[in-house]
Subunit: 91 residues, 2 copies
């Protein structure tokens, strides 16, 4: 017997590792300073992905999305990722 | 008297509006399907920024970062944003 699969929403946050230089973030910070926002001391730029995944349960969805990050979404040499799974909506 | 400013961490999530076509997300989904992840029905690609901002309090930090999004970080014609302010770390 196979459990029915449900739809999960996964948020994936990909950021550069702390020690990796972030020229995009630096440019954004400079742009903000040029607009007068001098209270911004640092900007780090990253990626955000929203996935709709079918899985039997939350643990399976998390494991699956973690694997996708390792294999495709994230360059683990310079980036790190965080995955957050949201409860499936009632249907 | 001016209140001492504190350091806040702001997470900014920028996504394409629901009705805007997302070719990057579609390509990522195709890549995942090619790797065998057929349970992924949709991918939306967005941006994620982490800001360090000085402000008197959380409300001021939120208002300031919202304004930065409107003016520079986000293209509000096709994108929408969400800001989340984290409590300053104890120093």
């Amino acid at each position: 017997m196979t459990a029915a699969k449900r739809q999960f929403h996964a948020d994936v946050f990909i950021t550069l590792k702390r020690l990796v230089n972030d020229p995009e973030g630096i440019e954004i910070r400079n742009g903000l300073h040029n607009l007068g926002y001098d209270d911004v001391s640092e900007v780090r730029a990253g990626k955000y992905m929203q996935l709709q995944v079918e899985a039997a349960n939350e643990d399976e969805a998390l494991a699956s999305v973690n694997e996708m990050c390792e294999r495709l979404l994230c360059n683990t040499v310079i980036e790190e990722f965080r995955v957050s799974i949201l409860e499936p909506q009632a249907t």
